[in-house]
């Protein structure tokens, strides 16, 4: 099984993101322009279910089904969280797409999303290039 199960989990995630219309640039813009509450409700209810799950897992089952110990690694708060987050937000509105939906758009036959993906890879490479010079 190994890594192949992640293909299935990814397919599940892709199906629900697509059926939620989170991968539609029209919906993302409607969210940022406050035309529709849908996406706020989707994110809110997703986090509610996710938070309840994490709470229950930590409380009752802090291991994977195969018995391996489970640790959830936290993320550091630094200047990058704020600056990088803001820059991503700009790109999110401009393209109408965030990382997960880029891949789901490609699967949906929206091949112009390859431009967004190419840009994102270039952006990640630029980050690798500039990282030593950026404030932490």
């Amino acid at each position: 099984m190994g890594n192949w199960k992640f293909l299935c989990f990814g397919a599940y995630f892709g199906i629900v993101l697509t059926k939620a219309q989170v991968i539609s640039a029209y919906k993302i813009r409607a969210m940022f322009l406050f035309r529709e509450p849908d996406l706020y409700l989707i994110i809110g209810s997703a986090v509610a279910v996710g938070a309840l799950s994490v709470f229950l897992i930590k409380r009752f089952h802090p291991s994977t089904v195969s018995g391996e110990p489970l640790t959830i690694q936290g993320k550091a708060l630094n200047k990058g969280t704020l600056i990088g987050g803001f820059l991503f937000g700009l790109g999110w509105f401009i393209t109408g797409t965030c990382p997960g939906p880029i891949y789901a758009q490609i699967g949906s036959g929206e091949f112009f999303a390859f431009f967004t993906l190419a840009g994102a890879l270039l952006g990640a490479w630029l980050f690798a290039l500039l990282k030593p010079k950026l404030p932490e």
Partner: protein, 163 residues
């Protein structure tokens, strides 16, 4: 009921189903949800001889799961669009089918790749996974995402730019 599956799913169905991917990955895979790390992964895999520490010091073979996961996302998008939708709606506006439009996707993509790596996460890793784990950094990141998105929306509106 059967008809409802082929329509867009309402938020109270799709939102919780999105949230369920968090325990799914934790319990069955021992992994935390995240997508934007795949950009680093692909860069490191494509440029194995890169001297840049951020790519060189990344063990992409040990993290191969995230490539399988994003391949699954492509597959899932195809299944949902071609097998589970009666009338698939367009996802990107027709304006992207032009040189300025593709440049906008490319430039916006650079901001996405650079920003998510600098912030160490995106909507999945911070706003869903990180908030579910009640992480302070993820709350700050999520607020920054929306600050950026709303600023861009305001700028485009004030300037009268079409998208």
């Amino acid at each position: 009921m059967q008809d409802a599956i082929f329509q867009p799913w309402p938020w109270y169905v799709s939102g919780p189903l999105i949230g369920l991917v968090v325990p799914m990955l934790l319990l069955f895979g021992g992994r935390s949800l995240g997508i934007s790390s795949s950009f680093r992964h692909i860069c490191a895999a494509v440029l194995p001889k890169s001297g840049l520490a951020y790519l060189r010091d990344y063990d992409w073979k040990a993290s191969a799961w995230n490539l399988f996961f994003v391949a699954g996302l492509v597959l899932g998008g195809a299944i949902a669009t071609f097998l589970l939708s009666s009338h698939p709606a367009p996802l990107l506006p027709p304006s992207v089918h032009s040189v300025p439009g593709t440049l906008r996707l490319l430039g916006g993509g650079v901001l996405i790749g650079f920003g998510t790596r600098y912030a160490a996460g995106c909507t999945s890793g911070h706003s869903i996974m990180g908030l579910s784990n009640l992480q302070k950094a993820s709350l700050v990141a999520t607020l920054a995402f929306f600050a950026g998105g709303l600023s861009a929306a305001l700028l485009f509106k004030v300037a009268g730019w079409e998208l």
